[in-house]
């Protein structure tokens, strides 16, 4: 799995940090920061949930061959 962000879209709601705190954080202005662009398998569910919950569609999850 590979994760990319569109920071321009982020509205700083923080849903991603609540859903997947090991993968996402917020900077001082509340804008999303990627902690792990290639998270391990045990994070997949949380990352998908974060992408689904993000109100601004700022998180893109790419499937990737291992």
């Amino acid at each position: 799995m590979k994760v990319t962000l569109d920071e321009e879209k982020c509205c700083a709601a923080g849903q991603c940090v609540l859903a997947a705190p090991d993968v996402f954080d917020q900077d001082d202005d509340g804008i999303v920061v990627l902690l792990d662009a290639a998270p391990p398998a045990e994070q997949y569910a949380a990352v998908h949930e974060a992408a689904q919950l993000c109100p601004a569609a700022a998180i893109v999850v790419h499937a990737q061959e291992d």
Binding site: K9, A13, D25, L53
Partner: protein, 410 residues
Amino acid sequence: MTPPVTTDVPDSAAEEDAPFFPAPRTCPFSAPRQYTEFREAGGLHKVAIWDGSRHWLATRHEDIRAVLASPHFSADVRRPEFPLVHSNQREHEGGLFLRLDDPEHARLRKMLTHEFSVRKTRAMSDQLLAVTDELIDAMLAAGGPVDFVKEFALPLPSRAICVILGVPYEDHELFQRHADAGTDLSIPHEERARAHAEAFAYYSELVERKRREPADDMISRLIADHTGPDGFSPEQLPVLVNILVGAGHETTANMLGLGTTALLLNPDQRELLRTRPELAPSAAEEMLRYWGIVSTDPRRVATEDVEIGGQSVRKGEAVIVSLVAGNRDPLAFGPDADEVDIARNARGHVAFGFGTHQCLGQNLARVEMQVAWPRLFARIPDLRLAVDVDALPFKTNSIVYGLESLPVTW
């Protein structure tokens, strides 16, 4: 001519094919029955509002998210087609950041997000816990029965937002009155205008004071960093602060009252939270979902022809969404969506809206509930209602659902 009271059901407005919106919650613990039926039928349905105009209503979780995430809908109350929530809305809120569209809305919102990130709001936990303890101490010292709304649910979020913004808490009766006038739909136009003018005067003076004597608070930081041509205009700052104070305390206060009620009426859930306080975050999400307290909003106007839930919405038509109907959608939350289950994953609820206008203060509201409930039930394990459920005074005609008072004892 006296402008209409926004909630009187006008004889002419509502007809068979377009029932009056907002419908009352048939039972205090459910979504309005009509909206449940709309949701089961699927698609969008026409409703009529206080001024006689007709709009689409979305009730499915999926349709609500689609409307609120779409770039083809506008939140700008200055548009002539916008379905105003009451007769003062355009005048009171027109041009405010939350009633603008991106990119202007996003640009201004980013000047406020700093204060409400997950980390910033979590850092307030200890402070909130201290206030929680103080309020519980006072309740215990007074002895039951007490009004939980007045003694706990209102002061906790009021004190929190006062600390963040730098508003003196001593003035809480004043700003609580302003907030009530902004959300209570049964008051006449002039009365709401008077309250708004009074609030504007109060916050103008406060902003002036902060300009002279800056402190370590959000108002002072906004003045220093975000006023002027690229930020908030001097006339807008007092209105913005008023909105933040109102949204910052009243919504969470209603959630604390309603959520406590739901926990008192579901002893197994309250026992679960008491024995497993680590469920507090999940319990807060479930309460947000279950109550879906914002009853009349969000509202949007289509800026293009779009299709939502199989219904074509023409450019210039408006869609209102029923958050509580969406939060009880079995397609999103399962067949037991009408039950309270603090252990379920309720994070997908739309109680804070969706899209780029999703609640700015959501993480503050979360922390307040997460701190309050475990402590409350740990310290007063035999807390109970002091009146019959049937006697609880639910707000029946307000933008935000809640309880006028909540008599409890122990």
